[in-house]
Symmetry: C2
Subunit: 319 residues, 2 copies
């Protein structure tokens, strides 16, 4: 057991209103754990998956943690994509967060797998390479390369993905008073279905312009620590209107959050979780309570709420 290491990767909220596929942040508390041991057999073996209710495969070529971990093995020895690995590792994946929740579940698994294998071999890879490996796993899960979950889960904080190809990540400033609320209602939205819905249509220039103004103002507000401007900028005219019908009670939950001084409220990733921002712990708790009550009253949905500051640490080795 002395060779076994453990890595925790946090959940994440992506899009953050105007920033579809380019903005994400690491959430407090919730996330996935991967344990890893070196193996004499080259390649990745997934020994066990827990906490998934039997939903996830142990086939390492189809499990996001396995795929990301295998990409790390490849990079460790500078191998081409598809080349047989020189080294081997055995993984235990412990899901500690809901699947298909919009909270970056597949991203957290991919990050935990990638970081665990890197740690197992003395951590030679850069954070940039590790995000790239996690992205390979995430892409297998969602069908499209988008780094707005894996990047914050790995790096912590609020991350801007300027570009996926080539991968360019930017750490944005996080105002100290900023608090995040996420509420996960007990219903499921498939990431693949949610992405197909938005990919199959085209968009009006006016709506793109609205999001351009808002994401630019959001980044400016983070730099200047202006939470009021930040809150005004958490608006999405591109994707939220198209996906809103997938989430029962969305309008009421948003109204409830904003009535409690939320600094913006929108869908977390592809939903059904909703996020909101607040400027204090007390506001955050009141917003969470109001959002849960609205999910219950408007849609008959039970839910869990998570409240706290942005997770600045990202993925980390734990004892």
């Amino acid at each position: 057991m002395t060779d076994r290491i453990r890595v925790f990767a946090p959940s994440s909220a992506s899009n953050l209103g105007p920033g579809f596929d380019v903005l994400g942040l690491a959430l407090p508390k919730l996330g996935d754990m991967v344990e890893a041991e070196p193996s004499v057999t080259p390649g990745i073996e997934i020994v066990e998956v827990t906490g998934d209710g039997g939903a996830l495969t142990r086939d390492p070529t189809r499990n996001v943690a396995g795929i990301a971990a295998a990409d790390v093995l490849r990079r460790l020895d500078g191998l081409e994509v598809g080349a047989p690995p020189h080294r081997g590792a055995r993984l235990w994946l412990h899901k500690q967060m809901p699947l298909a929740s919009g909270l970056g579940s597949s991203g957290a698994s991919a990050v935990a797998g990638a970081v665990a294998v890197n740690e197992l071999f003395a951590a030679p890879l850069s954070r940039h390479d590790l995000v790239a490996s996690a992205l390979v796993g995430e892409c297998a899960a969602s069908g499209t390369p988008h780094a707005d979950n894996v990047a914050p889960s790995l790096l912590g904080g609020i991350v801007l993905v300027r570009s996926c190809d080539p991968l360019e990540l930017i750490d944005l400033p996080v105002p100290t008073e900023l608090r995040v609320v996420v509420v996960h209602p007990h219903c499921e939205v498939s990431t693949v279905v949610a992405r197909r819905l938005i990919a199959s249509r085209s968009y009006a220039l006016d709506d793109a312009v609205a999001n351009l103004g808002n994401i630019a103002a959001l980044v400016d507000a983070l730099h200047r620590g202006d939470l009021a401007q930040f809150g005004r900028s958490v608006r999405d005219r591109l994707v939220e209107p198209v996906r809103a019908h997938l989430i029962p009670g969305l309008a009421e939950v948003k109204t409830a959050a904003l009535s409690k001084a939320a600094l913006g409220c929108s869908i977390s990733g592809s939903g059904p979780s909703m996020f909101a921002f607040a400027g204090s712990d007390d506001d955050a708790q009141a917003i969470a309570d109001a959002m849960q009550a609205a999910f219950h009253d408007a849609a008959g949905l039970e839910s869990e709420a998570y409240v706290g500051p942005v997770n600045r640490e990202g993925a980390r080795r734990v004892e």
Copy 2:
């Protein structure tokens, strides 16, 4: 003559790559002048227009400077839109920059008209109100409300228009070393035609996402003074591809600019002028020379080039 005041409003480059309708900056040197005198006859009279080659009307209800000036008269007395004005002013509009150039010609006229009339009556209006009045004039010229020319022309600097309704403007930081190059080729692109072209089609989400990543990175780069990141972010996948065919030689001009260390290069406003950024005066001059040579060699077009720092001052009263 003692009551006559003169106001200069600079030209502007808008869009700046990814920021269609939301980003603009004030240019050095080039701009429009308005002279104004109080009149006992209520309302705006345009006495003379010079420098326009006879292209512009003196009808104050159809001239952008007149429309903006009339809106200022209305605001000065808190009147409803359409109410007869209490005060009067006579204007002389001196065009000192090309029309339909993509350099914010109508915006400069609107700003000069609005600021001149405000100055004439002891300047009681806020900058925000003056931008709103200039926007009324600009809207009459272009057919759509977009403040990304009038706001920088009035305020100076690099301005983000988060929203036009309600009007919300954000001054962005300007790195001290940043230089702007604009090259105006001797051909015309109608703003109305250029806008109709882009408004009549719909857009792919991928292209909107690319611009979201770039505008967010551009704002971050301005705050951090990172000119390399700024340059990488001056890219437009929404509008430039649709309008490129309106500007003969565009591809060659862009290649020429980037070959001389330009920090990005794209269409200024609706063209045909092209802009580029540079990190020094020497680079800026070399880029301007290369862009002019490319317009000549690739499209047989003569051109003028303007080079300098961002105009931080905006519209100003002159003696």
